[in-house]
């Protein structure tokens, strides 16, 4: 795994005339798991898409190892940086093996078609995601959790040092969410892959992130190790949520407990008043 430097300088991203991310500077820590969090429409997915060159910046730039990703050949970026979008599209009737094989696109060319190396990469991706047994199955037959693992396998088959994932846990139930985040952690710890993901669940984000980026209104409000930056004040500022932050009994990372207007025990209400 070579080390890489992915960063945004003074980045402004827009849809139509609306700026969604404004004058943002960020550097993605190499070899770590970075999680971007924030309320809906705070620009977290937009930032991820900008980092993956899916959006052309209105201002500033995203650089990979010192070169603007917009100026690099797209296929050269694709050899270093992979992305799993929020809603990837599976063609009709495609088998798991063939879908995962499509991740090999940037490593093939007009004259260099399928090779033994591609088979090895696909086998490794299936193994890492525990989907080898599904190789011959039609994507449409799979459960949501299986399907998401297959998509991750496709992104892994691309064999990039950086992997960006846009809300990969969205359609999964809680056990599959944890399973998936464990899998991404395995990949990071075993091979040093840099992982950047957008997550909705703040508690899982705090547990699995080495580095957390909290966004509001298209800007970064706080970033750093979750233990250092996530406290009640930050959560209130980012999400507008009154809450308590306690140590997660399993991991010791910040655990956010919302206050809400109902159900608080009388002694808690007194301490808060």
């Amino acid at each position: 795994m070579t080390s890489h430097d992915l960063r945004a300088d003074n980045l402004t991203l827009a849809y139509g005339d609306t700026d969604v991310v404004r004058d943002l500077d960020v550097q993605i820590p190499d070899g770590r798991i970075t999680v971007i969090v924030g309320a809906n429409a705070c620009g977290k997915s937009t930032l991820l898409r900008g980092l993956a060159r899916l959006l052309t910046p209105r201002g500033g730039q995203v650089t990979l190892d010192g070169t603007s990703v917009q100026e690099m050949r797209s296929i050269d970026v694709a050899k270093v940086l992979g992305l799993l979008p929020q809603t990837p599209v599976a063609p009709d009737g495609i088998s798991v093996g063939d879908l995962v094989g499509r991740g090999r696109y940037p490593h093939q060319g007009w004259f260099r078609r399928w090779s033994a190396e591609d088979d090895v990469a696909v086998a490794a991706a299936l193994e890492a995601t525990g989907t080898t047994d599904l190789e011959h199955r039609d994507i449409a037959e799979l459960s949501g959790g299986q399907r998401q693992r297959v998509w991750i396998a496709m992104a892994l088959a691309q064999d990039t040092d950086l992997l960006l994932l846009d809300e990969p846990t969205t359609y999964l139930d809680i056990n599959h969410q944890v399973e998936l985040l464990d899998l991404l952690t395995d990949l990071n710890r075993q091979s040093g892959k840099t992982v950047v993901l957008v997550l909705h669940d703040l508690n899982l984000a705090c547990r699995y992130a080495d580095h957390i980026i909290a966004m509001k209104g298209g800007a970064i409000v706080a970033e750093g190790a979750p233990r250092d930056v996530i406290d009640a004040a930050t959560v209130t500022e980012v999400f507008g949520l009154a809450c308590e932050v306690v140590p997660d009994p399993v991991s010791g990372t910040p655990l956010i407990v919302p206050r809400g207007r109902h159900h608080a025990r009388p002694e808690v209400v007194r301490t808060l008043a």
């Binding site: 992305l83 990837p88 093996g97 499509r102 892994l156 075993q190």
Partner: protein
């Protein structure tokens, strides 16, 4: 990524080879069926010619003026245009469907064919055009209509849903104008226009047929080269970009190829309906996951040749090819609409 020591590479390689073998076998079988139908088309008619005579005459291995006249001058143009039109329709349809990720996104369904028809009918009725001028107008109509739909559907990119809906709207608009023009026409011209609109592979002149064959010979290899980027575009724009595919350029070139194919085939044979719509899904069923676009082209050729044989030989009165494909295609479309909407994938 590190390569773990105990990988199940054989499963991956075996699965891939098995799927590819199936696709290859199906494609080869279809090629054989096309060849047989091609020969059969030249055997049947008011005067029967044996298969041996057909083959030797086409290849120029014998010198029998009567057989040569029947086979090479009368029947070969029909058979050749059947193959070329079928290939063009099948390829055109499957490229559209994969590109826009929608089984309803067939170029004859979203108005490209009706645009070609409008121009062809106008040239017949309003300008009393020659047959090659009619073909030229049809081609021009296909290209302009496609451009119109592309511009109307553009909103920071093209989505299949918008393209199909706007295409259907444009199609209806064109059909309405066609109806108006035909209703205002003289009887003879109206009849000529209706014959053209029914779509028949036997109606082209030698010049148009040659143009179509050149287009097919040039465009098919190009389409096969672009199949690789097409496989990324099928996964959606974001994934395609992430894989390093140049999305807008590839999509534009592929749409252009598809339009050229449908434009040329409509110019030669008129609008033969439903072939472009059904060839791709049939090919997909036959080949499974590893199938390519060429298979869809071959399925198109089988359908067109088969439909023409039925239209010309099996029925008491010879009918235009388009009538038979319509009879096969319409029920499929109804089934497709029913099932696609059930799965919620219409758009």
């Amino acid at each position: 990524m590190e390569t773990p020591t105990s990988l199940d590479v054989p499963t991956v390689r075996g699965g891939r080879r098995q799927r590819r073998r199936r696709a290859t076998v199906v494609t080869a079988a279809l090629l054989l069926v096309v060849a047989c139908l091609f020969v059969l088309t030249m055997m049947l008619g008011s005067y029967y010619v044996s298969p041996i005579d057909v083959i030797t005459s086409v290849l120029g291995l014998r010198d029998d003026p009567t057989t040569d006249f029947i086979v090479r001058d009368l029947r070969l143009p029909t058979a050749a245009s059947g193959v070329a039109v079928g290939l063009a329709l099948g390829l055109s349809g499957v490229i559209f469907q994969k590109l826009l990720g929608n089984p309803l996104a067939s170029p004859d369904f979203v108005g490209v064919s009706s645009g070609a028809s409008l121009f062809a009918v106008s040239s017949i009725v309003l300008f009393d055009a020659s047959s090659s001028a009619v073909s030229g107008s049809a081609l021009l109509g296909a290209l302009l209509t496609a451009l119109l739909i592309y511009v109307l559907a553009w909103r920071d990119g093209i989505t299949g849903y918008r393209f199909v809906l706007i295409g259907i709207g444009v199609s209806n608009f064109m059909v309405a104008i066609i109806g108006y023009i035909v209703s205002r026409a003289e009887l003879y011209e109206a009849r000529q226009a209706m014959t053209w609109l029914a779509g028949t592979i036997g109606q082209s002149g030698a010049g148009e047929l040659r143009t179509l064959l050149v287009a097919v010979v040039v465009v098919i290899p190009l389409a096969l080269v672009l199949e690789r980027p097409l496989r990324t575009l099928e996964l959606g724009d974001d994934t395609a970009t992430a894989l390093g595919s140049r999305v807008e350029r590839n999509r534009l070139v592929l749409i252009a190829l598809s339009i050229v194919l449908i434009g040329f085939s409509t110019a030669v044979a008129g609008p033969i309906l439903f072939v472009a719509l059904i060839a791709g899904p049939i090919a997909q069923r036959l080949t499974g996951s590893a199938g390519g676009i060429l298979t869809a082209g071959l399925v198109g050729a089988v359908i067109v040749l088969g439909a023409d044989l039925v239209a010309q030989q099996a029925l008491p009165t010879p009918l235009p090819t388009g009538v038979v494909t319509g009879i096969i295609g319409a029920p499929y479309l109804i089934w497709l609409l029913a099932t696609v909407n059930r799965e919620g994938r219409g758009g």
